[in-house]
């Protein structure tokens, strides 16, 4: 028997993504290697249609499949981020795949499947459903990380990611089991006010284990050790995807649990506080000493996970978590735009085999490729949080949320970290603009596909930085619809 039509509407984006993923898998052996552009085009169409299909859950909000999933403004917001990221990642990696002589079909299909998984995570209202989403996205990510099969570093990255990731999912799953034992349900909305036993040891352990699993996925300290190696070893477009989409989806899931399960906000507050501070310092101090831009960006993404955790801590600290949730969502948008753009620039400028990803290799880029240098500078300034970029407003909203929840120390530590961060972002700009290149690196022309992606990311960064009204209002609405 088919499920009711409305339930299908509510998972329309995932259906589209999976259908196109399978279509691409099916076509990939048939289409000759020279025609791989076709597969890319189909995947892009799939991502575009999935983006359009978010109209359905927008029109029919509510719980689907007897409360397993929920279509609301919040899940819609996260869907837009993850599907948008997938679209841009596919478009941006078109040339990379050709250059590295990699198979486009599987690559795109895996991205589509991973994105479907992230979509499920964004809408999950029940822990096992969330787990399925998490696994869908994780397993696809493991394979993507090792996509350059003959590159040892790529394999090393995938192995590390897989082993540690499996542990983390095991923690997560065990946490679900314990939580179920304590509350008798896996439905998030039923765990909240109804459960009288919201303070038992079993529940605490369960929620703690869930926290560990999620913290691993967002690369928050002290569970961040895998991040630099994996981000550095994986093909750069995959890193672009890994550092944005899954992170957004996992934060969404964490927020969902935080808001719905009362015990979680009490129990997680200090965990979030500590993880935020540790991540900010681990990321920023680690990034200070990196010589590889790719690895530096990996460390910076740990720091940014810390910033978003500040917003989560702000949400956990109060009965009115809307400001914190909206700040986290806004930050995810601004962060996804620039991180995606920055890693794709690294993928392009690294050259065949990604040999030139050291900061040293970017010296004099402003002479060779002024447009790329300007673009990367814009992204770095946004990561740094200077005004007129989305990153500044993102930080502004996080500060605002933290102060609203009276987390003054956390706000001050965030401020301190912003200044530490400034040093290493500016160092890259020093290399690009202020030093003369030591060796001549041939600059490849920028393919139009990548140009489009970078234009979108740059224009989005500036637009959201100047006129954040739409994004922040939608984020605020999303925060309100969560319960």
């Amino acid at each position: 028997m088919l499920p009711p039509l409305q339930d299908l509407y509510r998972i329309a984006p995932e259906l589209v993504l999976c259908a196109f993923g399978m279509l691409v898998m099916f076509l990939s052996p048939i289409v000759p290697k020279a025609r791989h552009a076709v597969l890319l085009a189909i995947s892009l169409l799939g991502a575009g249609l999935a983006l359009a299909a978010t109209r359905f859950p927008a029109l029919y909000p509510g719980a689907a499949y007897s409360g397993l999933l929920r279509a609301d403004a919040f899940s819609l917001f996260v869907h837009w981020i993850v599907i948008g990221v997938a679209f841009l990642a596919i478009l941006g990696s078109a040339n990379y795949l050709k250059r590295e002589n990699l198979d486009a079909g599987e690559f795109c299909a895996l991205i589509l499947f991973a994105t479907a998984g992230m979509g499920v995570m964004a809408g999950a209202q029940e822990l096992l459903t969330a787990f399925i989403g998490l696994e869908m996205s994780s397993i696809a990510s493991y394979i993507l990380a090792s996509y350059k099969r003959d590159a040892p570093r790529s394999n090393e990255a995938a192995m590390k990611y897989f082993l540690l990731g499996s542990f983390a999912t095991a923690f997560f799953l065990y946490g679900i089991a314990l939580t179920y034992g304590a509350t008798g349900t896996t439905h998030l909305d039923l765990m909240g006010p109804a459960g009288a036993q919201t303070s038992g040891t079993l529940l605490k352990m369960g929620l703690g284990l869930i926290f560990v699993g999620l913290a691993f996925k967002v690369a928050a300290a002290p569970f961040q050790l895998w991040t630099p190696d994996v981000y550095e070893g994986a093909p750069a477009p995959v890193t672009a995807l890994l550092s944005t989409g899954p992170k957004a989806a996992t934060f969404a899931l964490a927020l969902r649990i935080l808001v719905n399960v009362e015990a979680a906000s009490a129990l997680w507050f200090w965990a979030l506080w500590v993880a935020a501070v540790l991540s900010m310092f681990a990321g920023n101090l680690g990034a200070l000493v990196q010589t590889s831009l790719k690895r530096m960006l990996a460390y910076s993404s740990i720091a940014h996970a810390g910033y978003i955790l500040v917003a989560l801590a702000a949400a956990a600290a109060t009965d009115h978590p809307e400001a914190g949730i909206a700040a986290a969502l806004f930050y995810l948008v601004s962060y996804a735009l620039v991180k995606l753009g920055a890693f794709l620039i690294v993928a392009q400028l690294g050259g065949t085999g990604e040999r030139h990803v050291d900061i040293e290799d970017f010296t004099g880029l402003a002479h060779r490729q002024p447009a790329m240098a300007a673009c990367l500078s814009l992204f770095l300034l946004s990561l740094l949080g200077l005004p007129v970029t989305a990153g500044f407003l993102g930080k502004f909203y996080i500060f605002n949320a933290a102060l609203e929840s009276n987390l003054i120390w956390l706000a001050l530590l965030l401020a301190l970290n912003s200044v530490i961060g400034a040093y290493y972002y500016l160092r890259v700009m020093v290399a690009m603009y202020m030093r003369e290149p030591k060796q001549e690196i041939a600059s490849e022309p920028v393919p139009w596909t990548l140009s489009v992606v970078l234009w979108i990311a740059a224009a989005g960064t500036v637009y959201v930085g100047l006129f954040p009204t739409r994004v922040i209002e939608f984020a605020a609405k999303a925060a309100l619809t969560m319960r």
Binding site: F396, N400, Y423, M434, I472, A476
Partner: protein, 542 residues
């Protein structure tokens, strides 16, 4: 008369010029320079309209523009000028075309980027001076960092990268704490029921008692704002970035840095610290005054022993800006008038000094004093004009430096004779280091053969220096033109301080409904200061 878009045009015209520059070919240096100059001159011409429409009797903001921008949290695009900011805007629009002229020949690498940075910098600085919304203010405050970073880092001298990074990191450290403080202040207004970032509205709320800051909060907020401004000024002991930034920056960068960027700090103290946090300002005033005096004396002493001419001028800025801070924190109508005047006159005279040093550098590519000597022989015109500027900077009567320092010392003396006495040392020292360095550079016999053939100032350089000299003289003998326009606003700063304090103490909490109404005039603020002030201005006008 209120022009509706004047301030918006003023703020964004330079950026528009910069965008137009982007369209030119990078190799087309001549047209890039011309277009940049045309933009900057047009900007200056438009800024003169401010003078025409400015009502010097009004205490409030003029040429105001108010539009909704971001609804959540409520941020407005609110611009306006008053007596405090009017001349700072004019100073900026004056120094920018002069900087462009000064860089006409000396910048021959990456010309396009240079002039774009300079114009974007102008937008940032003007934005800082005309913003009346805390968020908008902060935005411009930070935006201005990036062009300055490039100006120092790309077109600077040997240790430019170190200096540029130091400049940005110092400033960012202060400003990020200010951002936290701005948001905190916003949260306080939200708790009072009227969430806003609008400076004028916050001031009204503080005046009529709708908003009352507990003293501990006030002191913390004051600390965060003050730190950001003190780094910018820079106040001793936060000044260490300044000599590096100045020495390594190209001439235009130094002129803008000394001429207007440093004033952003003292302007911020006058605009934000005093009116918003009067009680905290009073409590910290003695400590700040001591730091200012130490800065005055220490800056002068260190300037004396410099071997690098540009570094010497940089340290003289530390000393001169110390006077400004002292004048502000003496809380006397006359000393604050003097502080505002000193900001302008320092901008002109130090700007002129840097321009002169830059001209020497263009000829010899060094700033070291020992490389020069006896330069008055090959270049009499440059030497004469440089001497004139030195006199102005040292505070010779009839020139601009005297007016500011005199007013500051007179006002400070009326309240704190000891402070004024110590600070007066700086006046003496400044004559020592400026004239001694002048003597070593320009007088005596030629010490180096290669200096004998140096060309004297050409038409372009003469035009720049003569213009500066004329302004120096005009400010010295025609100071009432300036002080009459800044007077109402400086009085207003003091009035805002008093009213706020009275209401903080619990007087008149029943006036909650007064939001937006004009405050009744408080008689008797500095009634005795008015006499002193009129004495001072009559002395100057003679």
């Amino acid at each position: 008369m209120q022009q509706a878009f004047l301030l918006t045009v003023l703020t964004f015209l330079p950026v528009a010029g910069a965008l137009a520059l982007l369209l030119l070919r990078s190799e087309d240096h001549a047209w890039i320079r011309r277009l940049a100059l045309v933009t900057a001159v047009a900007e200056f011409a438009i800024s003169l309209l401010l003078l025409r429409g400015f009502d010097s009797a009004a205490t409030g903001y003029q040429f105001e523009e108010f539009h909704a921008w971001i609804p959540q949290p409520p941020i407005h695009y609110h611009l306006g000028v008053d007596g405090l900011s009017l001349f700072l805007v004019l100073l900026t629009t004056l120094l920018t075309p002069l900087s462009i002229l000064a860089s006409w020949k000396s910048i021959d690498q990456r010309v396009k980027g240079f002039f774009i940075s300079l114009l974007v910098l102008e937008t940032g600085v003007i934005g800082v001076f005309v913003s009346l919304d805390l968020f908008l203010f902060f935005l411009f405050w930070e935006v201005m960092l990036i062009p300055m970073y490039f100006l120092i880092g790309i077109w600077g001298h040997e240790r430019r990268i170190y200096a540029a990074l130091k400049f940005v990191l110092y400033t960012m450290f202060g400003s990020i704490l200010m951002l936290v403080a701005i948001l905190w202040l916003y949260r306080v207004t939200a708790a009072a029921g009227y969430p806003t970032f609008d400076l004028a509205q916050i001031q009204t709320m503080l005046s009529n008692g709708t908003l009352a800051l507990p003293i501990r909060t006030e002191m913390l907020l004051f600390g965060a704002f003050f730190l950001a401004f003190a780094i910018k000024v820079p106040l001793f002991p936060l000044h260490t970035w300044l000599p590096d930034a100045h020495t390594e920056a190209p001439t235009a960068g130094s002129v803008m840095l000394a001429g207007v960027l440093l004033k952003m700090g003292t302007y911020g103290m006058l605009r934000f610290c005093l009116p918003l946090f009067p009680e905290a300002s009073r409590r910290f005033a003695p400590e700040i005054a001591v730091l200012a005096i130490v800065g005055i004396v220490y800056g002068a002493l260190v300037a004396m022993v410099q071997v690098d001419l540009k570094r010497l001028v940089a340290y003289s800025s530390v000393s001169h800006l110390g006077f400004v801070v002292l004048g502000i924190f003496a809380f006397h109508a006359v000393s604050i008038q003097g502080a505002v005047f000193q900001m302008l006159s320092h901008g002109i005279s130090t700007g002129a000094l840097f321009l002169g040093v830059g001209m020497l550098y263009d000829r010899r590519h060094t700033h070291l004093i020992k490389e020069f000597g006896g330069l008055a022989t090959p270049m009499p015109v440059l030497a004469a004009l440089y001497l004139f500027t030195c006199f102005a900077s040292a505070g010779l009567p009839l020139l601009n430096g005297f007016v500011g320092e005199f007013l500051i010392l007179a006002g400070t003396f009326a309240k704190h004779p000891a402070w004024a006495s110590w600070a007066a040392l700086g006046v003496i020292f400044s004559a020592v280091y400026l004239l001694w360095s002048y003597q070593r550079v320009f007088f005596g016999g030629l010490t180096q053969d290669k200096n004998s053939a140096l060309p004297d100032a050409d038409t372009r350089e003469r035009a720049i220096l003569f213009l500066m000299a004329a302004i120096i003289l005009w400010m010295g003998i025609g100071s009432p033109f300036f002080t009459s326009r800044t007077e109402a606003s400086t009085q207003n700063v003091l009035r805002l301080m008093q009213r706020t304090q009275a209401y903080n103490a619990g007087v008149g909490h029943d006036n909650v409904k007064d939001m937006g109404m004009n405050p009744p005039a408080t008689p008797g603020i500095g009634a005795n200061s008015a006499t002193l002030y009129s004495v001072a201005s009559s002395v100057k006008s003679k």
